[in-house]
Symmetry: C2
Subunit: 449 residues, 2 copies
């Protein structure tokens, strides 16, 4: 009988991260200063990030050693299982072999700790005592609080107020890990107070929360800022996912996958699985398809433009070249909160533009339908974000040829998203295709540089 | 550096369950018919359980083969990691080496699927189409729904109404796995309707829910009943935990533990870890200490009597000889819902009576304090039940001699118990020592046989 779960031992863990920047066909456009529109250098980023992470952000070496101290923490849950989805295959009667990488087994329940642990480590190395960040639905905030408590750093999280109120359990998870958390807009920052003065009941947005976290970090000597996706060094830290998967497929003598799938919000879980497999494709050695799956309601890759834009709503971050819907795009309140971002990681954008990666978009009800099928066959309740990857895998598996191999990233579990399942199961979940004219209007505001 | 996580490969999984009944120093007293007080035979249990499980219930062979079909499902998350708690050790400055078996990695988040998968398999083998059970806090109900959906059986769950209303996410987890769930008392059974007629707002109890599930199963040809703890065959299925742990300790050349710890409600997670280690102690080959940890508010082992009693409140189940607080003992509403049971597994009771196992009781605030320390060092948010084992491990580690080895069972995660953490973190959690006179009154009602 085929092995259902393929497990590596601790000492088979990847020792290095893979830096795809070294192998790109066209180089990344440089980030630009938000005011001067001139390329920024390491010194511009120093108030926000420790120098080692800035070096990783611009590094051109293909491999970067993973320090032992990071490895020791990653080993709490890594290597994660690669699972052959035998029961799902049987349920849909596919000719394909489907595998998924189960990132939901981390203590925070997603792939996010792969980078939060690394980021906190480098901050600690450089004497930083406190880290500030923003969080929307709470996946990233909880992953950073988890890493901070393990390394003994203080963690300050600005959580979008609407989520803070609606998702008390994520907030409690963060507090259990000793994280300090405030609803954003908060009275802790000048920016937050200004917003509250105009509108005391403001529900907040990710853009506002970013602005507060950045202001907090810049204003204190002991504090740096941390981001959970989009940036090159964040995607770099996630490549342990794909590097492990390659070893796991080798272990059972499986061929190179024909299709590699991940959901995309900022792009980090997709990148984590896909980049190590993309290395050979970039070098012309293999030719699998790579699918970046986004929600129809926030279609940055399928309906956005590839232009310079701000990472945040307020226009305080550097300008980066990426697929974007415009930095003041307001995504509807879908349940895959982690996929509600107007832009896309520059590395993922580059690979889509150069046609190494395809983008597809699905409606959330289709994704929940697939999530249910997955839960009822493979037994794991997926995060709404991950259900986009599952849906794409099922679509591909249904039309697959004999012996095709499909692999997708199960980026997280849905234990803190049961309210979304409630809506779906009670028939209250609606689809939302963001109107093209609103997208066009938002794209008008993309800065011309 | 010491390995933090010790992982077995799929093909190192135990192939057999260990049946401790074969090695007991004094035999188990036979279960008695609730009305006649005469020993019951397999035929008496046939309306409730498939014959293979009844055979296991009374089996005297030390080893029972695990069928391949069960193994294939267990492999979705087994073998579970054995983790060296290096960060916890450092935080408390112990001279001991502490290990924990991480059962929280199962899709349902606890050790419960180890037996639900086995039970559903044997039911399916014997043509059963539908299984009825009760659930209190929801751990067992979700584990049974998970197993039923994987094998394609219908699952009917009676959930204590107060939990049904207070824990909507557990209910949704069950529905996501296609389980049918009703608050108990329900209008589905004669017993439930009778209760509701007297009191339409009755909040339910585990005893009532058992009575409804039993009535449901007995009343339908296609349906059997299933229980999540207490019974011999349930504890048998959990022994994969300890059998794996023994292999894992061997793998790293670690000695036999000096202390083996688990929390106890019905007794199954403690038994799962402890019984395989107890085999050698029963045979006089080793002499570790075994600690069964219960809440001070429901102290069946530390303050109960070893007598025949009913398993349920209504007195419908067979009489079994066990430590009990009396079947109409009403435990206070502590947050470790899985430990609120008036009795104790006969096998565990036997081993406590014969002094192979020690019992200790702790207050819930002490346990939550230890849970926080564990979450902030080892990174995993434990279930309130498991925090009792953690607290005992910390107490033992603080007084341990150089090189002592402590192992405990982390029976589940706390993702669905964040409301309890909220109470603890906000200082609202209270301790409760059940008054001895109330216990004495309840013990008066233990049937004399």
């Amino acid at each position: 009988m085929a092995d259902r779960k393929i497990v590596l031992r601790d000492n088979d863990l990847p020792q290095r991260w893979y830096n795809i920047a070294a192998d790109l066909k066209t180089s990344l456009a440089p980030p630009l200063h938000p005011a001067t529109h001139q390329p920024i250098g390491p010194a511009d980023l120093a108030p926000l990030f420790p120098m080692e992470l800035i070096k990783q952000e611009v590094c051109q070496d293909p491999w970067i050693e993973i320090p032992d101290e990071i490895m020791e923490i990653l080993k709490l849950w890594r290597p994660t299982p690669l699972v052959r989805a035998l029961s799902l295959e049987a349920a849909i009667g596919t000719k394909a072999r489907i595998y998924y990488k189960n990132e939901s087994v981390s203590p925070a329940g997603s792939h996010k700790p792969n980078t939060s642990v690394a980021q906190v480590y480098y901050n600690k190395q450089e004497g930083v005592k406190r880290i500030a960040t923003e969080t929307g639905a709470g996946q990233w905030g909880s992953a950073l609080a988890f890493a901070c408590t393990l390394f003994g750093l203080e963690c300050q999280i600005y959580m979008v107020r609407v989520s803070y109120d609606a998702k008390p359990y994520r907030k409690l998870m963060i507090q259990t890990w000793d994280g300090k958390i405030d609803p954003s807009p908060s009275t802790k920052t000048k920016y937050g107070r200004a917003v509250l003065e105009l509108d005391p009941h403001n529900q907040g947005s990710l853009g506002m929360a970013i602005s507060e976290a950045v202001e907090d970090a810049v204003g204190r000597d002991d504090t740096k800022y941390s981001l959970g996706s989009v940036l090159n060094h964040v995607l770099l830290h996630q490549t342990v996912i794909g590097l492990e998967a390659i070893e796991q497929l080798k272990m059972i003598g499986e061929k190179t996958p024909d299709v590699v799938i991940g959901c995309v919000g900022g792009g980090s879980n997709f990148a984590g699985l896909a980049f190590p497999f993309l290395k050979d494709k970039l070098q012309g050695k293999t030719n699998p398809r790579f699918l970046a799956v986004e929600p129809m309601s926030c279609p940055s890759l399928t309906k956005g433009v590839f232009e310079y834009d701000f990472g945040d709503t307020a226009g305080m971050t550097p300008l980066v070249k990426m697929y974007t819907l415009g930095h003041d795009f307001m995504p509807p309140g879908i349940h895959a909160g982690g996929l509600r971002y107007h832009g896309m990681a520059p590395l993922v954008s580059n690979l889509v533009k150069d046609k190494f990666v395809e983008a597809v978009a699905y409606h959330q009800t289709d994704c929940f339908k697939s999530a249910l099928l997955f839960a009822r066959t493979e037994g794991i309740i997926p995060a709404p974000e991950s259900s986009h990857a599952i849906n794409a895998a099922i679509v591909e598996a249904r039309k697959a040829k004999e012996g095709e191999v499909i692999i997708f990233n199960l980026s997280g579990h849905g234990h803190f998203d049961m309210a979304a399942y409630d809506k779906y199961l009670s028939g209250q979940l609606e689809d939302y295709e963001y109107p093209m004219d609103k997208i066009k209007a938002a794209l008008q505001k993309v800065p011309k540089v």
